[in-house]
């Protein structure tokens, strides 16, 4: 008989208006317990108003070895940023 509880990742919304942010992990036997543990472990000091938990094994992550292929190509697309464009000072509201 196993006494091992699976690992969950915990995401907390600090206050309404903000997104949920990863804060850590914990072990729990089921999802309800995972929410309770997240509450007891990660919100003891009013750190949150909402909790997400997800089984760690369900998270699919990008491979760091592929980081260059995935993220470097965005580097030279400077025209995506407003500062790329030169507009005369006297033109307002742009």
């Amino acid at each position: 008989m196993s006494d091992d509880w699976p690992l969950f990742e915990v995401f907390i919304r600090a206050r309404s208006g903000l997104e949920h942010k990863h804060v850590g992990s914990l072990h729990a036997a089921d999802v309800r317990m995972a929410i309770e543990h997240a509450r007891d472990v990660y919100t003891r000091r009013q750190e949150g108003v909402s909790i997400w938990v997800v089984r760690s094994s369900e998270i699919v992550a990008s491979d760091p070895e592929e980081a260059e292929a995935l993220f470097e190509p965005a580097r030279d697309k400077v025209y995506r940023h407003p500062t790329f464009y030169t507009i005369p000072d006297e033109v307002k509201n742009l």
Binding site: M1, W5, L26, H27, A28, A29, D30, R32, M33, E36, H37, R39, D40, V41, R44
Partner: protein
């Protein structure tokens, strides 16, 4: 509506205060020794809520009494017969199963009580209850969830909680059977109607036991009266430990 004496109100509030204090003290024994690290934190949170409730209630009781006793004087310098907690609260932790049974039975009772006390004719009590009701709602979520897992987990866990339920059920009569003080407070609109309280408790505990696949034990004939100061042997030992320092050094401030 009759107006109960200060002495009666003092005694009634002590029932609430002492039940939270004694139960919180029991849960404090678990911290560092729970079945999983996460459970250490969970039980500690509940203990902190209960001690917080006790402090507010004891401070208020002390004011009503008007003899200058503060929360610590009431917590540390009364003897067992002066404690008014329900006897169930002082029962030993034994194993996690029995702790959870005790917790669920008391959580369901405290929740019904605090829900009603929010609208108490005693406004100060209403304020304390408004804070406590949120805490207690979580306590019951925690204990009911565990009772279901243990009742419907393995053969061993089922047997253990069934045994715990059998051992503790005999203390539930005290929660639900009103005495003269409960009646007096209810009549004054300070405390809830005992009938409504019983109904709500039966409903909640019935649902949890059913999901936990646990049989409701037969009623027990022996009526305990912790709330009138007639306790089980356990309370004296517990207070001996809890009160040891302030009693050994009566002049000291900590």
């Amino acid at each position: 509506m009759s107006s109960p004496s200060a002495e009666a109100r003092f005694r009634y509030i002590l029932r609430l205060a002492d039940t939270s204090l004694i139960l919180g003290q029991r849960l404090g024994e678990w911290v560092g020794h729970a079945p999983a690290l996460e459970e250490d934190l969970g039980l500690a949170n509940i203990a902190l809520d209960l001690i917080g409730q006790a402090r507010l209630l004891l401070a208020y009781a002390g004011e009503i009494e008007g003899r200058g006793r503060d929360e610590d004087a009431l917590a540390f310098l009364r003897d067992a017969p002066e404690f008014r907690n329900v006897s169930l609260a002082e029962q030993p932790n034994c194993d996690f199963g029995q702790t959870i049974v005790r917790q669920a039975l008391l959580d369901a009772w405290q929740l019904g009580l605090y829900e009603a006390l929010v609208g108490s004719a005693d406004a100060r009590l209403g304020e304390i209850a408004a804070k406590a009701v949120k805490e207690t709602r979580y306590h019951l979520r925690f204990s009911a969830g565990w009772l279901v897992r243990l009742g419907d987990g393995t053969a061993e866990s089922h047997a253990r909680v069934a045994q715990g339920l059998e051992a503790l059920w005999r203390f539930t009569d005290e929660l639900l059977a009103p005495d003269a003080l409960d009646e007096e407070m209810a009549a004054a609109g300070i405390a809830p109607s005992p009938d409504a309280l019983r109904l709500r408790w039966e409903e909640r505990i019935g649902a949890v036991l059913e999901e936990a696949k646990l049989e409701r034990p037969a009623a027990s004939p022996y009526p305990w009266h912790g709330k009138r100061g007639v306790h089980t042997e356990h309370l004296g030992h517990m207070l001996g430990e809890m009160q040891h320092l302030p009693r050994t050094f009566p002049d000291a401030a900590w």
